[in-house]
Symmetry: C2
Subunit: 306 residues, 2 copies
């Protein structure tokens, strides 16, 4: 009952005049994903974006931007090199590569430091670790040209519990019931969704509303219970409401909120303690901030028999 | 500036009539330690115990009991097999093997699960993990015959800060000044001490008072800052005073208190939140309890440039 939900992420935008990334054939994305060790399980599109649910997380392709997220034991760094080389360094306007610390990092095929050493042979940039080695920590590499016009935020939830968490571990679960229990319709009535239920468990959902996206991935397995939501909704209040609602529904023991060019108040979150925080200026016009919270009540740990 | 302070630990006692473990020659302990990858740097003795400061942690030898603690990349499991085989399974009254989750577990040569699989070929026993995989967690294996007559407690401190922590990172530090700043004399006037300062930093101290022991190991290196204290002082109030004093002096961001057959109140600790706890009955007459605390204030993380 272990699955590594912790994500790796590429955000890449191309310069104006390079041509639409959406014009690239599905075969191109399949080749990219195969290098990482993932494949496409579902796709939805609107006038702005093609959103793919993957065997491990999600891919979003806009005209000038790609957001590619993978989890498990994927080697996203291989997809990164392929994309940089195929699209050509001189056409890349902004590039970032991130990794969340894994539950079982020794099972990963590469480490972030190695990935960055290779990335730097293609693209100059800055690399950071935020958070202590003995707790949740986040790795990021940003090209010197890094520039994200749009705010975005992620909510990472660890060790979910309660009725919905229990339901997500049942063999009889179904997509429509999960979607209803997550209650997206209340907070995001203008979004269209495409979701996928994995066997024996695990749930991924992509959402689109005009240019805006949302993606959520649920790893309910008890030992590695982890849920991530990421969105570029630029209405802070809407994001806070969504995140607060998810925290109330999924009742994680602890959670991270990571925001790029966005500052979210935590006051609506369930009873919590802010354990740690970091504000990091990436360059003159982009900043990222991290906050780690735990629930207010002491977590009663059950000894795992080995 | 990284050193893996996280410890592995063997506690082994022999049956009455087996003969004194203290009669074993220093060569025997050197052989044992060499298998793990450690050696003796200092020794002190009293009528009850021989206490060795090691290149990686400590060894205590009483007439019928051994406590062997190692850190770094040592393979304590190899020393465990040697001890079990040399002393003979039928002579062993009680055996336990523990590992604290490491800061960088991928650098370790074996994993706890592998160690236990091998241990079980020699000794039947129970194995547990306490704590989530994505946070501090503790592994323990106890032989079916496990029986510790005496209470004991450990305080594990993570990410120390303040004046004393800063001093411990300075190239000009000296043993006598560290001992004075730790203020053992106030709380443990009846203990004799033997300490060692490592180059470029790192400090170990063993203490003895009659049959009672204390051992403390300081890894001040910023990325892996970790301090452990373990003692079998059976006066709860004295232990609480000692731990509270150490917490005030070393100002860790978070800490664990792990007690065997002892229950310590946390009220005197600096402003804190109890994040998690676990009570585990090991058998009819032995229990272990774990508590994880964080300081009350949000930790301001500094992004580590890579």
């Amino acid at each position: 009952m272990f699955f590594e939900g912790s994500e790796k992420k590429i955000e890449l935008s191309v310069k104006a005049g390079v041509g639409s990334l959406r014009a690239l054939e599905r075969k191109f994305w399949e080749r990219t994903l195969a290098l990482a060790g993932a494949d496409i399980v579902s796709v939805m599109s609107n006038s702005y974006c093609d959103a793919y649910v993957l065997s491990e997380s999600s891919l979003f392709v806009w005209e000038r931007k790609i957001l590619l997220i993978t989890c498990g034991n994927t080697q996203l760094i291989k997809a990164a090199f392929f994309l940089i080389d195929e699209l050509a360094v001189e056409n890349i306007a902004s590039f970032s590569y991130q990794r969340k610390s894994e539950f079982l990092s020794h099972l990963q095929l590469t480490r972030f430091e190695d990935d960055v050493q290779q990335l730097r042979t293609r693209l100059p940039g800055s690399a950071y670790r935020v958070g202590h080695l003995d707790g949740h920590h986040h790795y990021l590499f940003n090209s010197d040209s890094y520039d994200i016009q749009c705010p975005s935020s992620s909510l990472l939830m660890y060790h979910i519990k309660g009725n919905v968490a229990d339901y997500l571990r049942q063999p009889t679960q179904c997509k429509s019931s999960i979607l209803k229990q997550l209650n997206f319709a209340q907070w995001l009535p203008d979004f269209d969704f495409d979701d996928h239920l994995f066997d024996p468990c695990g749930y991924s959902i992509n959402g689109l509303s005009g240019e805006r996206f949302l993606t959520m991935h649920i790893t309910p397995q008890a030992q590695s219970a982890y849920v991530s939501i990421e969105t570029d909704i630029n209405d802070d209040l809407k994001v806070i409401q969504l995140f607060s609602s998810m925290l109330a529904i999924l009742q994680p023991d602890s959670w991270d909120v990571i925001s790029v060019n966005q500052h979210l108040a935590a006051s609506d979150y369930p009873a919590h303690v802010e354990v740690a925080h970091c504000d990091l200026a990436l360059n003159a016009s982009n900043d990222i901030n991290f906050k780690h919270f735990t629930q207010r009540a002491s977590d009663k740990l059950i000894a795992q028999v080995l």
